[in-house]
Symmetry: C2
Subunit: 343 residues, 2 copies
């Protein structure tokens, strides 16, 4: 069999200000080819990548290689990477069989030869859910929400939770976990469509932060006992001003640090006077994984299959427009979980 | 017996910017008198106040009555208040006897008639320590340090702790508790005299933040596992930049919010990426009191009597210069725990 094109979304250079430019910081390339039947695997495996997750977090990996930050910086000239699902086409690894599905940090390319399979997780899809779900609600984003909520929220029935960037995969899962725990949930997002989705998944109060004043909404609907923070900045400031005594803030992300740099929170003293507890975390924390990984895969697929937990995907087919998909994700121009599906 | 003068330090008006002015926001008055033998007690007690604590925290109570904030605002025309020790001269309360010593929030005056004794704590001075200690290392400041450290620090031997405003009563107790727990302790203060005191009580690294760069010291001596924050602002920012993964920040105070308003911390995103846990608290928290109050009074007096825990007092005798004592305390112009002793 002759070589086939292995389409790739390459990292072309660090983002040093603003947002990543498709064709500038990233570029789709068809210059690589691969012989699917004969390419040497050196004892490894050949994956056909079928679903790739696009996340805000990729922005942090687009920094200059020498800069400190979140995640391993991308390498110029190599594909960008993020969590994805691949199906095994061939294997020389005795522990891996063709046809099995694996989840892990994968290059944005159609086919990947990989020697080391230690960092890949074999997926069990007992409820026959779409594989793309395993890079979203059943992938790193879902784990982020699940681990953080189970570890830190310690909710009491009747308490008030506020979730920012609530229509995202993490946020929308938090809204539903909080509702299932008997909380009143206030949820913010950046468009009226997202607000409609938030109401659909059970948020008691959902608002568009671009047209409503977050401080006013929280003053009216709070005080808040739990704040799930995805954005930081002015929203965190509003939450600090609306915090109940002893409130818990779970710091999952501060996307506004990238999208609105230079805004500095002015009311940190509330942390002392209101006795606020703040927990920053990342999903890769080994203790969180040990505590919650198994429960996550036992609990969530069934609840999704039963329709108890809803999700929304924003699919793009193929890697050609990958750079724009990443940019759209960073700009919030998505309608559900951004995922690239390769068929 | 004829009436005697009851000297008082009166609150004359809210501080709306800057620091409280002696003679402006506070004023010493000798216009009140009291008949020590005959004054009606209405079933209450007559206290001779013998030691009054002067603390930064009093600044927050000098706000306008309508402004939200920390502690109950002072009432114009009445004495300022803070924790103090008084000895009972006369009692009509069957549960209180003359000669007993009580601790609580007391007016800055020589004599106080008080009906309600519920908020007063009867002191036991088994080691015959100076009574003034019970408003400092054995009073609210000491409790603040002890409760916060025992509840939140969870130190592991060999870890690195950073303490700001470390020469104060709270800070110096934290330095010694941290050393006793086997930590490397970095301590900052605002004068070379204070730095010398910090070395004397065992700090491994002590520096004057006015002449050394906090960020540089922490970069060199860190990363830090525990930050005991008394100051907030730029120092908190430096600590966030020097935090180890999973560090614990105990937010006891943010005095710089008052002394250097307008400085906003720029690197809160470190909370997420370094998985920092932050605990704000106030010493009046009922759960902290329930958890640690008894241990505090069982543990500390003995350690002080044995010389294991050191302290430093900066005494002023009499209320006449009370306004200046408060101002000096706020400006950091003290050499040890500021206490007013009335004899």
């Amino acid at each position: 069999m002759s070589p086939v094109i292995n389409g790739q979304l390459l990292f072309k250079g660090a983002v040093t200000g603003g947002s990543p430019i498709p064709g500038g910081n990233t570029e789709y390339s068809e210059s690589a080819t691969i012989e699917l039947d004969n390419a040497s695997l050196n004892g490894g495996i050949l994956l056909k990548n079928i679903a790739l997750s696009v996340e805000l977090y990729m922005m942090a990996r687009m920094r200059p290689a020498s800069a400190p930050g979140h995640g391993v910086p991308y390498v110029e000239g190599k594909p960008v990477e993020n969590y994805g699902v691949g199906v095994v086409l061939r294997s020389e690894d005795p522990n891996v069989k063709a046809g099995e599905h694996y989840y892990g940090d994968l290059p944005f390319e159609q086919y990947t030869i990989r020697k080391d399979t230690e960092d890949l997780l074999k997926l069990n899809n007992a409820y026959n859910l779409p594989w793309s779900l395993f890079v979203g609600t059943l992938g790193m984003a879902g784990q982020t929400a699940y681990y953080g909520w189970k570890e830190y929220a310690k909710p009491k029935k009747g308490e008030v939770a506020f979730v920012s960037s609530a229509a995202g995969t993490v946020g929308s899962l938090i809204v539903q976990l909080a509702k299932a725990d008997g909380l009143k949930v206030i949820a913010s997002a950046g468009s009226d469509e997202k607000v409609a989705f938030l109401k659909d998944i059970g948020a008691d109060v959902a608002f568009n932060y671009k047209t409503s004043d977050t401080k006013e909404v929280l003053q009216k609907e709070g005080p808040i006992n739990i704040y799930w923070d995805n954005v930081g900045g002015a929203t965190l400031e509003a939450a600090l001003d609306a915090a109940a005594r002893g409130a818990t803030f779970i710091e999952c992300g501060m996307i506004s640090t990238f999208t609105s740099p230079g805004y500095n929170v002015k009311n940190l003293f509330n942390i002392v006077t209101r006795e606020i507890k703040i927990f920053g975390f990342i999903v890769a924390n080994p203790q969180l994984i040990a505590n919650h990984h198994d429960a996550f895969y036992e609990d969530l697929p069934e609840r999704i299959a039963k329709g108890e937990i809803k999700y929304k995907e924003d699919r793009t087919y193929g890697l050609k427009d990958g750079g724009k998909v990443i940019l759209d994700c960073i700009m919030g121009a998505n309608d559900g979980k951004k995922v690239i599906v390769l068929e």
